[in-house]
């Protein structure tokens, strides 16, 4: 079976862990996230002809106090930049992280605009968003609470990486 490492990155509190939780049934405690900065989960995604096992590396929220750790990105086949549509800053931070990632890897990057169950509260216009989305392989508007687009995002990644 094909296995792929996928990292989830983003500012603190955007809902990376909740996205993973929505997608998998994990075995490790979330204490790992705060102690070593990463927690690994897995989920098998069924494609039309094959199965792909995604190894999801949920990486601790990155902020100005806690620098980006490129080591965890090593060997990743793709990464997801998670942002929170209720906080404008989360997109700026997400883009910063994205640019830092680009310095070490050129694997596909996905943009997840999370918390779609809440009202949009950032000031980014449709055009601005479209502009930023260009830098990514694809953009998903997700909700870890309702599960909206979560599965389809991971399925998209699995397909992208397999074919």
């Amino acid at each position: 079976m094909i296995q792929k490492k996928v990292c989830l990155l983003g500012a603190t509190g955007v809902g990376k862990t909740s996205l993973v939780k929505q997608f998998v049934e994990g075995i490790f405690s979330e204490k790992y996230l705060t102690s070593i900065g990463v927690k690994v989960d897995k989920r098998i995604v069924d494609l039309a002809s094959e199965q792909v096992q995604l190894m999801l590396w949920d990486i601790e929220g990155i902020d100005r106090y806690c620098g980006f750790q490129p080591k965890y990105l090593r060997g990743a086949s793709a990464y997801i930049i998670v942002t929170d549509q209720t906080r404008s800053q989360s997109l700026i931070e997400g883009l910063e992280i994205h640019h830092q990632c680009r310095e070490v890897t050129d694997v596909p990057a996905i943009l997840a605009i999370n918390k779609s169950d809440l009202d949009v509260a950032w000031h980014w216009s449709e055009n601005e968003l479209n502009g930023y989305s260009q830098e990514f392989e694809k953009c998903f508007t997700t909700s870890a609470k309702t599960g909206q687009q979560v599965n389809s995002m991971f399925e998209f990644i699995a397909e992208l990486l397999y074919y």
Binding site: I36, V38, V40, K42, W57, Q69, Y72, S77
Partner: protein, 587 residues
């Protein structure tokens, strides 16, 4: 002529030489150097190695030129492409390191061997003996005692991605290898980031993760990491086997590892190699047997035998206690206390009537050993009927003339005694404890007939008459409540009374006295006055009837009922028939 031609030749040669010199060294020499340069590579190439060899032989100057060059280029290459260099050197280095490690270990074990040889601990001596028994070297035996382990699971992880390439485990219950691989890689990254070494190129990595009962052993190759989960004490053997397997994986799957894109299928055939790392060593059975906790068993045995002994003593003591308690049923004994004393003894305090059986005799009779008994005996007087019998029997041993009739535990003596002897007996009976109404007991004891020497002496006759009247008067018949029927004893008494009265009649006749016998019935106050009047009269008449039957002339008899008669001293009613002889002068 010859000389001239010779000179000409010489000149021509000289000329040719000059031409050649000009050609080689003159201004025109570029042609030749040009031609030589053109073929310089081939020319030098043909003799390069040989030339180097010759020059080195000649003055050793090649070394001096080449060594700094090589050193510099290697240095540059290593610093620029360290990862690659490690990749190249890994298979070779691995083998070298293993060799050196095993050499070190052997030396270490030998040293340990020496150390233990010199130490005179009991364990050391025991192991030495066992090793000698088993025919192996001491160091080997020590190793077998120390290294007992089991490799539970082996993971082969792609180093860059942290993705599990292949895992094998012994039995079930192995951890989710995929996620463990990821987390291990993450933790390794965490460690190498968090604890930076002084030099930037030298990174810290996990080697062993140890918990109380198992260890994770990590061996790192350039492309992959092999991890073994080991329980128990891990011997060097496992590390060696892991290194071998890792090298093998690198050698065979070099390309697959370098171009790994997440497809683990090509690594399936590694299963066999990985399984070879699932080593285990069980402690040999005989060692297990030897591990019996003899000391603990001894203690258990000791405690068991102690409790059995104690239980035996306890049981014996209990039996003895129960047996000795039966003494309380023996007449003349009062058991005050029976208590266990110490482990085997039983302490007894009791009261014993002097006329009762002695304690020793009782023990003998009941087959009880005196050994474990501690008896404290005090004297007392028992009023038990059995004791009364004993005392009376003892007393009557001096009076063979008398016989005893027992009526409801009350003795009645019959027979004849001389008056003095009778008096003595009477006082003895009075002093006898437990005997109620001692005079009644004696009531049937006759006084032996005196000689008739003074038969006609009126004073003697009178005295005899008085004596016999007293005899008759002293007789009292007892009745049950509300009854007027006579008991056997009463009938016996009446029989005797009839005889006595006949004697009285005879004596009275001799003295010309007329007499009568008043038979007085009495009763207790239970029931009405009239009833009791009638009952007392019936009792008197019943006695009268028997006397008539015994041959007493009814003319003498006068039965009267006294009705209720109460004793003023005791307050009790008198259920009796009393007799009184009255006499008068005939004239």
């Amino acid at each position: 002529m010859d000389e001239e031609s010779n000179n000409n030749n010489m000149d021509a040669k000289q000329q040719q030489m000059d031409q050649l010199r000009a050609l080689l060294l003159g201004e025109e020499n570029q042609q030749i150097t040009g031609t030589v340069k053109k073929h310089a590579r081939e020319i030098v190439g043909d003799v390069f190695s040989e030339a180097l060899h010759d020059r080195q032989e000649k003055d050793g100057s090649v070394d001096q030129v080449i060594i700094p060059l090589v050193e510099k280029s290697v240095e540059r290459s290593v610093s620029n492409h360290s990862e690659k260099m490690v990749g190249y050197l890994y298979p070779l280095m691995g083998r070298l390191i293993r060799k050196s490690v095993s050499a070190f270990l052997t030396e270490f074990l030998e040293k340990t061997n020496e150390l233990i040889e010199n130490s005179l601990t009991i364990k050391g001596l025991k192991w030495r003996f066992r090793a000698w028994q088993a025919g192996v070297s001491f160091s080997q035996y020590v190793a077998s005692q120390t290294f007992v382990y089991k490799v539970e699971q082996i993971l082969l992880i792609h180093r860059e991605t942290g993705i599990l390439l292949k895992s094998v485990s012994q039995g079930h219950g192995a951890a989710d290898a995929d996620m463990v691989s990821g987390m291990l890689t993450a933790i390794d990254d965490f460690v190498s980031d968090s604890f930076n070494a002084e030099s930037e190129n030298e990174q810290q990595h996990l080697d062993v993760i140890k918990t109380d009962d198992f260890s994770l052993v990590l061996k790192r190759g350039p492309q992959a990491v092999i991890v073994a989960a080991v329980t128990g004490n891990m011997p060097q053997e496992i590390a060696n086997q892991l290194e071998l397997t890792l090298e093998f994986a690198h050698r065979i799957y070099d390309k697959e590892l370098a171009s790994f894109k997440g497809d683990t299928l090509p690594f399936e055939p590694l299963e066999q190699q990985l399984k070879e790392c699932l080593l285990e060593e069980l402690r040999p059975e005989e060692n297990k047997a030897n591990k019996q906790p003899w000391f603990a068993w001894l203690i258990v045995l000791f405690v068991c035998s102690l409790s059995v002994t104690y239980g035996y003593f306890w049981w014996n003591q209990n039996e003895l206690k129960i047996a000795i308690e039966a003494i309380k049923n023996e007449p003349g004994f009062v058991l005050n206390d029976v208590d266990k004393s110490g482990l085997t003894k039983v302490k007894v305090t009791l009261l014993r009537d002097p006329s009762a059986l002695s304690v020793d005799d009782w023990l003998l009779e009941n087959d009880i050993s005196k050994d474990n008994l501690d008896i404290e005996e005090k004297r007392y007087l028992s009023l038990a009927p059995e004791l009364l019998k004993l005392r009376l029997t003892k007393l009557l041993a001096d009076y063979p003339e008398l016989t005893v009739i027992w009526e409801d535990n009350l003795p009645v003596l019959t027979g004849e005694l001389p008056n003095a002897k009778r008096q003595a007996l009477s006082s003895k009976l009075l002093a006898l404890p437990g005997l109620n109404e001692p005079l009644n007991v004696m009531s049937l004891v006759e006084v032996e007939e005196l000689d008739n020497r003074g038969e006609n002496n009126p004073a003697i006759l009178k005295a005899l008459l008085e004596l016999n009247i007293a005899k008759v008067d002293s007789i009292q018949l007892e009745f049950d409540q509300g009854q007027s029927g006579l008991s056997d004893l009463a009938k016996e008494q009446l029989k005797m009374l009839a005889n006595n009265f006949q004697t009285v009649v005879d004596l009275a006749d001799k003295q010309n006295l007329s007499l009568g016998l008043i038979i007085m019935g009495a009763s207790d106050p239970v029931g009405g006055r009239e009833y009791n009047q009638r009952l007392s009269r019936d009792r008197a008449r019943a006695a009268q009837k028997v006397l008539v039957e015994q041959g007493v002339d009814p003319g003498y008899l006068n039965a009267i009922g006294l009705g209720i008669v109460e004793s003023k001293t005791t307050g009790k009613g008198v259920r009796k028939v009393l007799f009184n002889v009255v006499y008068f002068d005939s004239d």
